[in-house]
């Protein structure tokens, strides 16, 4: 049993223990390399053709002022686009909005997803029914969902009606058009629709934690909360890393909802201007600014990368107890 716990508490950064058989070591590792590459082959081909190539193109564009039609004309401007971005107030506003959004949404959606998954997994009845219900939000497309929420949160919509009727509010709040509330509305909407996805992931991850661990803990007198924090959460570290990273990426790339709610403007007064929205504006809404849009996209990628690496570091440290 001791070995089982050891194995299950491996974190994702842990180096793999050397293979027990060290005979023919180099031949073995060469074979393993070959196998590794073979397994990765389809991925590599598509990665290069459809991802790296376009990214390289965009990287190139970010250093130009380019006009893509009527004869492709490139004007090499070096880092001018990046300098302009640094001086652009709207870019900073977008960055602030997006960061604030991520800071709020990611922890909440991770916590709720984990909690709900744990509850679902705890042997309650009607498990399948609940799971199917919880899964539903992932099924509807984000545009349909956004419009539904726009109705729900509108001045005469159900949410306002209920809040006013129970006396919580004196007068209905225009959630979508108030600078203070617009982004929050999107946050609520997003959490509502992404929690099921991450919850399902957590559920699958929970299957891999052996019951024996919990049994042993019960024998030692642990209560539910202790089991949750000392067994469940640490064992889910790789999955949590996934949820965190995908959450960060998703939040920083938030586009659909901001676009639909503000009609593409990012208003009122830039309240819903997310970074992806500003990229879109420069890529498709104005002509001749594709170079700038590309530079912004590269900047966003770097920001997400830095935040993700930070999150990964933090999460690792937490699991070392």
């Amino acid at each position: 049993m001791g070995t089982q716990i050891e194995i299950n508490q491996r974190t994702d950064a842990a180096s793999q223990s050397p293979p027990p058989k060290k005979k023919k070591g180099s031949e073995r590792s060469r074979r393993e390399s070959m196998q590794g590459v073979t397994f990765m082959l389809p991925t590599l081909i598509i990665l290069v053709t459809f991802t790296l190539l376009p990214i390289a193109y965009s990287l190139f564009l970010s250093f130009t002022r380019v006009n893509l039609f009527g004869g492709i004309e490139f004007q090499w401007v070096g880092v001018e686009n990046y300098v302009n971005a640094w001086n652009d107030d709207r870019v900073w506003t977008a960055l602030k909005n997006t960061a604030r959004y991520a800071l709020f949404v990611v922890p909440i959606q991770t916590a709720i997803a984990l909690l709900m998954a744990a509850v679902l997994n705890s042997g309650i009845r009607f498990q399948n029914t609940f799971r199917t219900i919880f899964f539903l939000p992932t099924l509807t497309s984000s545009s349909a969902l956004t419009m539904i929420f726009m109705f729900l949160f509108s001045l005469n919509g159900p949410i306002n009606n209920v809040l006013v009727n129970i006396g919580f509010l004196d007068a209905p709040i225009n959630f979508i058009n108030e600078t203070d509330f617009a982004l929050t509305t999107i946050m609520v909407m997003n959490i509502w629709s992404t929690v099921p996805f991450f919850m399902t992931i957590y559920l699958a991850g929970l299957q891999d934690i052996p019951a024996s661990l919990y049994e042993a803990a019960s024998l030692d007198g642990a209560n539910a909360w202790q089991k949750l924090t000392k067994i469940t959460v640490p064992n889910l570290t790789p999955v949590t890393n996934y949820v965190l990273l995908m959450g960060i990426i998703g939040c920083f790339q938030l586009f659909d909802q901001a676009y639909i709610i503000s009609g593409g403007t990012g208003g009122p007064n830039n309240a819903t201007l997310t970074f992806s929205l500003i990229i879109y504006q420069y890529a498709f809404k104005t002509i001749g600014t594709m170079g700038y849009a590309s530079a912004l996209a590269i900047i966003l990628t770097i920001v997400i990368f830095m935040v993700s690496m930070l999150a990964r570091k933090l999460n690792k440290e937490e699991s070392n107890y």
Binding site: Q35, I46, L47, T132, G205, Q207, P238, V239, A283, I298
Partner: protein, 274 residues
């Protein structure tokens, strides 16, 4: 006794309230598909239609004779795409977690980094690539670039990290090579995560909108989402049709989910009580 019962009730309360919160918007959308446009737009609290009507469904099914064709197209693409994805993603995830090869960690970081690039600016370069490959307006344009999905490669890797070595080593002692070990032992044991992946990948293909919009021009090749998009006129969005269309496009997914449901909870307990 008290200690045991109290937490149970709390759990149920949490579950039921969350279920209600989850269901409400969804119910709203489904019921809205039975309402005429004017009723949807008028707002108001009532979920239930004042004058229930099937007109919306009738409209979308009959308006365009290609509607059944679109459903089939979506099905075809989503199914093919899912099969291909599940195989490639799982292989890649396994490789990244288990097999050591030079540059593996850099490759993993690269895959993570690549996910962080916002998709809008890749639209036009990808379009140019499709055009030069000559696969515009074909199903290949939708399946080939989407044959792998970085986030699910990432997911599978995370799942494989904790996968117990002894199972694989036992298989190798039994004379299976790596491929056989992977296909016959590892893959089946990762059922829970594979099934999860499959459902979401399918969903991704099913709901995919931007790629068909740009790559597919012949109406017979439209996917369902693209075909439904055409119910938006230039000036106003016909909500009644869109709600009805959303309901129609959700049904296959629910069926798929129910079919794969048993795999979610089943996953063999890895390690532990062997």
């Amino acid at each position: 006794m008290k200690k045991k019962k109290w937490p149970r009730i709390v759990l149920y309360v949490i579950l039921i309230s969350y279920a209600l919160v989850t269901l409400y918007p969804f119910l709203w959308a489904v019921l809205a598909s039975f309402k005429p446009y004017s009723e949807i737009v008028a707002g108001g609290l009532s979920l239930w239609p004042e004058k229930p009507t099937f007109a919306n469904f009738e409209h979308i099914f009959t308006k365009d004779p290609l509607f059944p064709r679109w459903i089939m197209n979506s099905f075809l693409i989503a199914t093919l795409g899912t099969i291909v994805n599940v195989i490639f993603n799982t292989m890649a995830g396994y490789s990244l977690a288990r097999l050591r090869f030079p540059g593996r960690n850099y490759l993993f970081l690269l895959i993570l980094a690549v996910m962080m690039v916002p998709g809008q600016i890749l639209l036009i370069p990808n379009y140019l690539i499709m055009r030069s490959l000559g696969i515009l307006d074909t199903y290949s344009a939708l399946i080939i670039p989407g044959a792998i999905n970085f986030s699910y490669i990432f997911l599978m890797r995370q799942f494989f990290i904790n996968f117990p070595r002894e199972v694989e080593e036992a298989a190798q002692v039994d004379g299976l090579n790596r491929f056989q070990t992977f296909w016959r032992i590892v893959f089946p044991m990762a059922r829970a995560s594979v099934a999860t992946q499959a459902v979401f990948v399918f969903l991704g293909f099913w709901n995919e909108f931007l790629k068909p919009l740009l790559y597919i021009t012949s109406p017979e090749k439209y996917t369902l989402t693209l075909g439904l998009q055409s119910f938006q006129s230039q000036n106003a969005t016909q909500w009644n049709y869109i709600m009805a269309a959303s309901v129609v496009s959700i049904i296959p997914i629910i069926i798929l989910y129910i079919m794969l449901n048993k795999y979610f909870m089943q996953g063999l307990r890895i390690g532990g009580d062997k």
